[in-house]
């Protein structure tokens, strides 16, 4: 059996990214869209770790730690924004984000 190589990781990472993008475009619930966004970031993380391992360099893995931290901060801001919107509209659906189109 062929050992797991860089290309396998990259395929998984690419698939994760596409799934995330698909979710962001298709889903209508804001929370699910957030989760899909996180999926896209994690796809990038997976690629970074795999490249880092196969390039025999550690800086990619260091970067992943930073990305995870930033993603957490992003979620904090994002959830706060959802709450702010929910207070005004009692809804967390993208269909209700259309008041400004004149």
């Amino acid at each position: 059996m062929k050992p797991v190589g860089l290309e396998h990781y990259l395929v998984v990472s690419g698939l994760l990214f596409c799934l995330g993008l698909w979710g962001v475009i298709v889903r209508r619930n804001l929370l699910i869209i957030y989760m899909s966004l996180e999926l896209m970031l994690n796809a990038a993380n997976l690629a970074l770790v795999a490249f880092s391992r196969f390039n025999n360099k550690l800086d990619g893995q260091v970067m992943v730690f930073f990305v995870i931290t930033v993603a957490a901060a992003e979620v904090a801001v994002g959830l706060a924004l959802i709450v702010a919107l929910y207070r005004k509209k009692q809804s967390a659906h993208v269909e209700d984000l259309t008041t400004m189109k004149s």
Binding site: L48, V77, L81
Partner: protein
Amino acid sequence: MNFDYAQLFSAAIPETVVVITAFLALLVDFIFLRNLPARTRTSLLATVTAVGCLSAIAWMGVSHSTYRLDDAIFVVNPMTQLVKQIILALTIFTAFISVQTNFTRHLGEYFILLLLASAGMMFLVSAENILAIFLALELLSLSLYVLTAFNKQSVFSAEAALKYFLFGGMSAAFTLFGLSLIYGVTGEMNLTAIAAKLAGKTTDPLFYVALVMTVIGFGFKVAAAPFHMWAPDAYQGSPTPVTSFIAAGSKVASFFILAKILFTGFAGAEGDAGWHHYISGWTPVLAILAALSVIIGNLAAISQKSVKRLLAYSAIAHGGYALLGILTADQKGFASLIYYVTTYALTVIGAFGVVAVVENYGGDKLSDFAGLSRRAPILSACMMVFMLSLAGIPPLAGFFGKFYVFTSAIQLGAKSLGLLWLVILAIAMSAVSLYYYLQVLKQIYVVDASDKTTVSVALPTQFVIVALAIAVVVLGCVPNLLVGKILAALSLG
């Protein structure tokens, strides 16, 4: 690995000053200003901001050190210092425009976020490393998302922030994925090393995926069509000073870093966007973005009723013109890009300042500007300067900016007029843009006012708007004031 912390600190003094000022503003507001009337509070906090930013600007003016931290995480040279000074000046203008508006009671928090966003921009300007670029970009973006949502009374504000956040998050994911692939192809984090490793490898398909992803990510950031969907809503829904900051400061920083990534990191993969000699690379991708931006931005702006939305579409169009400066892929084009985005930023802050004043008397609809010349003559004159400069009428700064970008795009010696098709398109579209800018001026000068009350303007805001109008005229008449500085910084850096 050991490096000199004292040296790092002295290189990062401007950023340190800005961050300290940010916390100082919060502290001062909490301890001393809670019970004062809102306008006094804002004026005092804006003064604190201005003092902090001015001392950082002065420091950068005095010290001429260059510095390069390991792996180019933090780079200081004359060019970065000049752009940082410009960004801090824009921050000061935004702070004083905020005096006019009355959208929040949480002023300390507002100013700390404003200053943290500027600190993010400064770090972004100094970053030449994938990790540092991503972190600085996120610091900037997260501060801007919260600032956009700052008007808690308005449902528009929350909605705008959410849209900005969703598109911003997607752009961050695209940028990160693109950058991670580039890291994979080259095994390097810093842009110079990436370019060195990329030499000869530019046929790698993975590299093209990475290139397109990165450009898409930054396309969202600079609101280039077709990635501009968030911009009109975010601009319209945010509190007006925040809109001006997004349109001005964030644009200067994003264009600078985009140019740096493409020029330094992807050097050698330019390709050619010329009419009959297409070569794949990043210039053809950007040429498509630029062409779409000038077309969509200008055509969509025509039918807008809200002035903030109109300026948002005009910002998309101006993003397209600015991309022309990057397309040249040489130092001259870079200089024209910096001049263009700087003068655009000054103009647009002034224009949004006027909108912020008018908003207090109704809204930001075109009809709210009717008869403004009788109600606020000075303000109207300034608005005329801004609008004509955005349209590119000589002798204002906007004219020279466009002229400089277009000529540097045409004068690409060896590539002999390859970009002429794009320049002609941009000039034609800029003629179209005159229509909607004049619509605003028609409302101000020709249409009669329904509401005849004189408009009262807070003194700092009035002062800033007039100063910006003068700056736009002066930079248009004597462009060498800024161009000379940019060219000097480029040759040193």
